[in-house]
């Protein structure tokens, strides 16, 4: 049993035309037992920056708390929100600091830069960062998620199209995964608002 599949998760983020969408499943389970179906794996840092974390849930939660801590101090000192690219680098640095005793979490960062360009990046558990122009995924069934995203993504999607695409990729991706699913939440981030939708899915 891998420590990365102890809890189970599925996270998908995609870039559209001056918008990004990020979504995750809602299952919280311990190996085969499902405990709740209201645990999103996507966290808001600020209105234009969301963070998705898969892997061991306790590490994902702690990492999120530590990043909020750092972002809050940054906001107080610099009197501005952190840019998504800056956040990505800071997260990479924070993960590498624990190189020999890592956080068992794999993050996906999705947001809009101050000039409106979408920003997506993903990392492994020790902070190796990879930026993407199309989509980023992480979770316990990466092959299913990659397969769906690769076939369904196309450039310059409007927010509503983007939502549909992320929703279909996420749901079809985690339907074949025993450890992820049980509902989904998707946030679509545009210049002036964030629309969050919760999806009813197969509850198995």
């Amino acid at each position: 049993m891998s420590i990365f599949s102890y809890n189970g998760a599925a996270v998908v983020a995609m870039a559209g035309k001056e918008c990004v969408a990020i979504g995750s499943d809602l299952r919280f389970g311990v190996q085969t037992q499902t405990i709740t179906c209201d645990t999103p794996k996507v966290f808001r840092i600020h209105d234009k920056l969301y963070l998705g974390l898969s892997g061991l849930l306790t590490d994902a939660q702690t990492l999120h708390e530590k990043l909020m801590f750092r972002h809050n101090l940054y906001k107080l000192r610099e009197e501005r929100d952190m840019k998504p690219s800056t956040f990505g680098h800071m997260l990479s640095n924070a993960l590498y600091e624990r190189r020999f005793g890592p956080y068992f979490a794999a993050p996906v960062v999705a947001g809009l830069e101050p000039d409106g360009t979408p920003f997506l990046c993903g990392m492994d558990t020790i902070g190796a960062m990879e930026k993407a122009k199309d989509f980023m995924i992480t979770g316990t069934s990466p092959e299913s998620l990659y397969g769906m995203c690769e076939s369904m993504w196309r450039p310059d999607m409007e927010p509503d199209e983007l939502f549909e695409t992320v929703a279909q990729c996420l749901m079809s991706g985690f339907d074949r995964d025993a450890l992820a699913g049980w509902g989904a939440v998707i946030h679509v981030i545009t210049k002036d608002k964030v629309i969050s939708r919760t999806l009813k899915t197969r509850m198995d």
């Binding site: 000192r77 610099e78 952190m82 840019k83 690219s85 800056t86 680098h89 800071m90 640095n93």
Partner: protein, 235 residues
Amino acid sequence: MAESQYSFSLTTFSPSGKLVQIEYALNAVAAGATSLGISAADGVVIATEKKLPSTLVDESTVQKIMTITPSIGVVYSGMGPDFRVLVRRARKTAQTYYQTYKEHIPVAQLVRETAAVMQEFTQTGGVRPFGVSLMMAGYDDNGPQLYQIDPSGSYFAWKASAIGKNMTNAKAFLEKRYSDEVGIEDAVHTALLTLKEGFEGQLSGANIEVGVVGPNRSFKVLTEAEVNDYLQEVE
């Protein structure tokens, strides 16, 4: 007077509420060569007298204006060795910031961190305050900025200011000549004229140093030839 009874120890307040060692550090600054800075609408200029102890000193090896990041430079009045230590610390702070965020440190943040270091040395046992005041100039997302940092660790943003030997006259001169719409070229001329006021002898590219940062966000120390060109325009 009662003050001098408390002047030996940095970490003991005098009855009037002063830390006498910091006052004395400010005296060290006031005895140093004059430095000044002017913040223009599209950039910042800092300048200093390069007063050398003897004509035999190779002045091309003396550097009073140092770059901390590509967009931030600093000049001082006071004790040169103390300045170099602070520059090392500031450069490390700036690099640490860059390593974490892959973004160059904003001027105000660097000023805060450097001032914090200077304050540490006013509240620790076994150390003395830094005998320098710094003039930090930089250009970031908030535009051109000029800050002064004192030995106590207090810092102020200025539109124009001077520190060191001739600071009162220099500041009076700057007050008369400063205007918000001044551009960087005019600011350099004003800086040179201000230095000329208190200078014994003839100003030349070899006995002053000038640093400039403009909208290109690249802090540059002017070469001797460039300074001489500006001086000719000012004559």
